[in-house]
């Protein structure tokens, strides 16, 4: 009864105060830097489009090198993303759901590749997986299997650099998800693995998708770690960014511009498509 009276009072007060609708001007100290920031991000892309030698574009597109590099880029970035999903989602779950000693330290370690210059990452990978590296020597001796300067090496380099993006995105999604759904699953007889596959993962699917897209985009643009760890062999380890760099170094500015435009177009198209399908529907 008391509660009903109180609700009445609330309802009345809401009616009494009309909703305020004031349209405010956007303050100049916010608007001007915002426009400058937008211009700073867009202008270089516009420059790329403006400088594109449109006349010779079809002929340059047909050059086998460009398409080979593009295919290698898309393949390695996609495989690297799958690797990151398989390893990164469980890692994110561990960080978000299990309390263990040193969890903060592990979380900090996961983000190290984010702040590490990719070239340094490539050197580090060589030290571990190189033919004389800690693990690489053993892999070579046991299986006759080497990673550096192979397509697999490209995937390893890209996964190393891109995985933190996925882990951070998925861990954030897991922390944001209501873990009481997992408790509800437990009261219905679901163990932790079943709960993860049947409840947790569907709940954080949009977060996983967003993380995978970020991860894929980062892998696609990877340069430093790849060129250090996997080298720059056309058809084997030469991805698009490497091809752009090599063409530019060779003095062919138009060629570099064309390659850049292709990479830009393909990645923007794919990201836009994924965004429509995954991110906005979430």
């Amino acid at each position: 009864m008391v509660r009903a009276v109180r609700q009445d009072a609330v309802a009345r007060s809401e009616v009494a105060t009309p909703p305020s609708r004031r349209t405010q001007r956007i303050p100049a100290p916010l608007l001007l830097p915002a426009i400058a920031g937008l211009a700073f991000l867009v202008l270089p892309l516009a420059g790329l489009v403006i400088r594109t030698p449109w006349a010779s574009l079809p002929q340059r597109l047909g050059e086998s090198g460009a398409l080979t590099a593009l295919r290698l880029s898309l393949q390695t970035a996609t495989i690297a993303t799958l690797v990151c999903l398989m390893l990164g989602v469980p890692l994110a779950w561990l960080l978000a759901r299990v309390e263990f000693v040193g969890r903060r330290a592990v979380r900090a370690l996961v983000t190290v590749p984010l702040v590490l210059p990719p070239v340094v990452g490539g050197v580090a990978l060589l030290l571990v997986f190189g033919r004389k590296g800690v693990l690489g020597a053993w892999l070579d001796a046991t299986f006759g299997f080497t990673l550096p300067f192979t397509t697999t090496g490209v995937v390893v380099a890209e996964a190393f650099v891109a995985m933190p993006f996925l882990v951070i995105a998925v861990e954030g999604a897991l922390r944001g998800a209501d873990d009481r759904y997992e408790e509800a699953a437990a009261t219905l007889g679901a163990g932790r693995w079943t709960t993860f596959t049947h409840v947790t993962l569907p709940l954080v699917a949009p977060g996983v998708a967003a993380g995978a897209v970020l991860c894929w985009a980062r892998a696609l643009g990877e340069f430093g770690a790849t060129i250090t760890f996997a080298g720059n062999y056309p058809g084997i380890t030469q991805t698009m960014p490497l091809a752009v760099y090599q063409t530019m170094e060779g003095g062919d500015l138009d060629g570099a511009v064309v390659l850049s435009l292709i990479l830009l177009t393909v990645s923007v198209t794919i990201l836009a498509a994924l965004r429509d399908k995954w991110i906005t529907s979430a």
Partner: protein, 373 residues
Amino acid sequence: MTEVRPEPTSDPVVDAHLVVERSRFQLDLKLRIDAGEVVGLLGPNGAGKTTALRALAGLQPLTAGHVTLAGADVDRTDRRVWTPAERRPIGVVFQDYLLFPHLNAIDNVAFGLRRHGMDRRTARRVATTWLARVGLGEHARHKPRQLSGGQAQRVALARALAVHPALLLLDEPLAALDARTRLETRAELHRHLTEHDGATLLVTHDPLDALVLADRLIIIEDGRMVQEGDAATITAQPRTDYVARLVGLNLYRGTAEGRTVRIDDRFALAVADPTQGDVFVAFPPSAVALHPHQPDGSPRNTWPAVITGMQRHGDNLRVQLDGPIGVAADITPAAAAHLHLIPGRSVWVAVKAAETRAYPADTRNQGFRPTPP
């Protein structure tokens, strides 16, 4: 216990001594629930109701004590026995239901059945039957976000009952519903609880839910049981301020000598029932009359008081008064207008001895024990 069960030799479904210690809170509650019995766990916010439910469900480990469900120890700290929630014979209806948002109603209900080893087709068939039983046959393929609050509550109930739990746990099952849906859903819930042959623990802070749905009430405050009994006993003889407010009675504790109960050094109440020693005195706000001047004669309790607050209470006004003892009075709006009642005004309070009830505060002299053996 409060009533005689048909099979007194059968073991209770729930036999628990729940002890959960936190930094500023301790729950210490002994609990027995028989098959077919619905126990209402009632208490103010923060009393430990939900903690008790979570301890039974296996979502909150005990600090000490034990939980025995259907004859099996599932949590016993001294023997390091621990059975996680997923292997306990329980069903839980959560306060906001927690239906899985990515599954439709059938798959939500089938979820528990699948985890209990049923194949997909059978689970879906049984789930469909359950949805029909709760009157949601045509909403079977709807996702939770397409269901109203009352419908979601029924899906949650079907999901919990479908696995035939030995113990059904309901956490404020009606709290999220609006007043009208609540009325219908309460009646519906009552029917399903009657049909449920396992034990049921209903956690609520709403006395009406508890009175309608539960066979027996346990009232806890600050993690301890303060009163236990059937609805009639508790509404007639509250033992704490919280319970008294809950059932709408003025409650005082004092020392009785025959028909006089001394509340403190300066104040005593005349009562109808002769008692001795430590007693409670209770009377309803409707038994309190207010007068502009000291009323004369008649064997009544009268004292001067100051109005501290007024609010609507049904068709009447409930007036809060401060004086030698605090008291609530229910009076008609006409009388309030006649007496020019406003907060701050001084009036005289009168209570007829015949409308008071006095009963021993020492529970050992009473028919019930607060903690079962």
